[in-house]
């Protein structure tokens, strides 16, 4: 099929790059490039705003007291922000649930969550004891509440599994995928996921953990399995601590 140059109206071969009569670039190619560039700029802006926003809020959070009430406020605030960013870019919602649930995968994810929790609890408490001579624990924050364990599970396991996954394996992953491709999306989202946990020492396990979650997100193009691992992992850590294993 022949095409026509929009500048000089001369007839051109199909999918031409430059007009053979006036030398101008094919306007269709030009428009396509501009579209890609606009998309790229928009995604980079979203990503930068989200990153800056969450880093500043996390710093403020780290400076406030760690009482139960304040923790609840921060959890709700971060959940709202993650939801707002996810609403602005609606492309991630259909990635929450996979098209078909595979029972063997669900079982595998739960197992991975438990194993990583045991390994991490054990190694982190050892490293912290050696380096800082103290161990970080979650439960004391919930001890004064009416139902310590359910609240701890809700705040430490359910909320992060839902909203961190929505943010990092949803929003951040999608944006980086548009900017730089799938491989970069896996690496980049895991890196940012590691950074927002605010501990240089913990990076040694959070980044590989994030890489794994992002890999599953990419492989099954769904956030559900990541959410499952994240929930099982965090819940197991709480349970291990509650029953005094580490």
């Amino acid at each position: 099929m022949k095409e026509v140059c929009r500048f000089c109206n001369s007839e051109q071969a199909a999918s031409f790059k430059f007009c053979s009569q006036c030398g101008r670039r094919n306007t269709q190619l030009q428009e396509k490039d501009e579209k890609t560039e606009n998309k790229y700029r928009r995604n980079l802006q979203y990503l930068s705003v989200y990153t800056l926003f969450s880093i500043i809020l996390l710093l403020v959070e780290a400076l406030t007291d760690t009482t139960f009430e304040i923790l609840v406020i921060w959890t709700v605030l971060f959940a709202l922000i993650d939801i707002i960013f996810a609403v602005v870019q609606p492309g991630i919602w259909h990635k929450v649930f996979p098209k078909s649930l595979r029972p063997e995968l669900i079982l595998l994810m739960i197992l991975i969550g438990i194993v990583t929790a045991v390994v991490v609890s054990y190694s982190v408490s050892h490293i912290n004891r050696i380096l800082f001579e103290e161990v970080y624990v979650y439960m004391p924050m919930f001890e004064d509440t009416q139902y310590p364990l359910p609240f701890a599970i809700l705040i430490v396991a359910v909320c992060p599994a839902l909203f961190e996954e929505l943010a990092f394996r949803g929003f951040v992953f999608n944006n980086i995928e548009v900017i730089a491709g799938r491989k970069s999306a896996i690496l980049g989202s895991a890196f940012l996921f590691g950074l927002v946990h605010f501990s240089l020492i913990s990076l040694f396990w959070i980044i590989p953990f994030g890489l794994m979650l992002a890999y599953f997100r990419s492989k099954y193009s769904s956030m559900f399995y990541g959410m499952l691992i994240h929930f099982t992992h965090n819940a197991s850590i709480i349970l291990l601590e509650y029953y005094g294993y580490f």
Partner: protein
């Protein structure tokens, strides 16, 4: 019998009535002004690419400096029992910046972005010690910030104009 004409720039075949090469836009049968215009366009793009390369190289140099500083400081701290944990922190930071540097070589945009975010986080995290420390060495921090931001912009320009030059077959 039609004689086929080969473009002198990209070696693709031209039809008899073609003035410009439909593959790379070179005015094969154009006059001097058109040929000059073509070369000017190529030069303009090549200049942008060279400039972007320079700015990306600046980021790499900056990363080498940051890695060196963190590694030296980390090793120095390790020898003192009181600052041992800080030393580990510095060494981990050096390691992460090294990872970013490798990433810059493979994918400039993502590598620079990662290093930039990590660097900002490190700068801001001094508020846990003393908020006033943010303003310490503010001039140097400003320079670092400018290098990073220019690096991010250049990484995209580099990709974009390199692709255009490749299309014009003028690399």
């Amino acid at each position: 019998m039609e004689e086929s004409i080969i473009c002198s720039q990209c070696e693709s075949e031209l039809a008899e009535q073609d003035i410009f090469c439909p593959n790379c836009g070179y005015p094969e049968k154009g006059d001097e002004t058109e040929i000059n215009k073509y070369h000017f366009r190529v030069k303009l793009k090549r200049d942008i690419v060279t400039d972007a390369e320079k700015k990306m190289k600046n980021v790499k140099i900056l990363l080498y400096i940051i890695i060196g500083l963190n590694a030296c400081l980390g090793l120095f701290y390790l020898f003192d029992e009181f600052t041992f944990a800080d030393g580990i922190g510095n060494l981990i930071a050096a390691l992460i910046f090294t990872g970013c540097l490798i990433w810059v070589n493979k994918n400039p945009l993502m590598g620079i972005l990662a290093a930039f975010v990590f660097w900002i986080l490190l700068q801001l995290s001094v508020i846990f010690v003393d908020p006033a420390l943010i303003f310490q060495g503010i001039l140097m921090k400003g320079v670092f910030l400018a290098i990073f931001i220019k690096g991010v912009n250049s990484a995209y320009d580099y990709k974009k104009y390199n692709a255009q030059l490749q299309e014009m077959n003028a690399n």
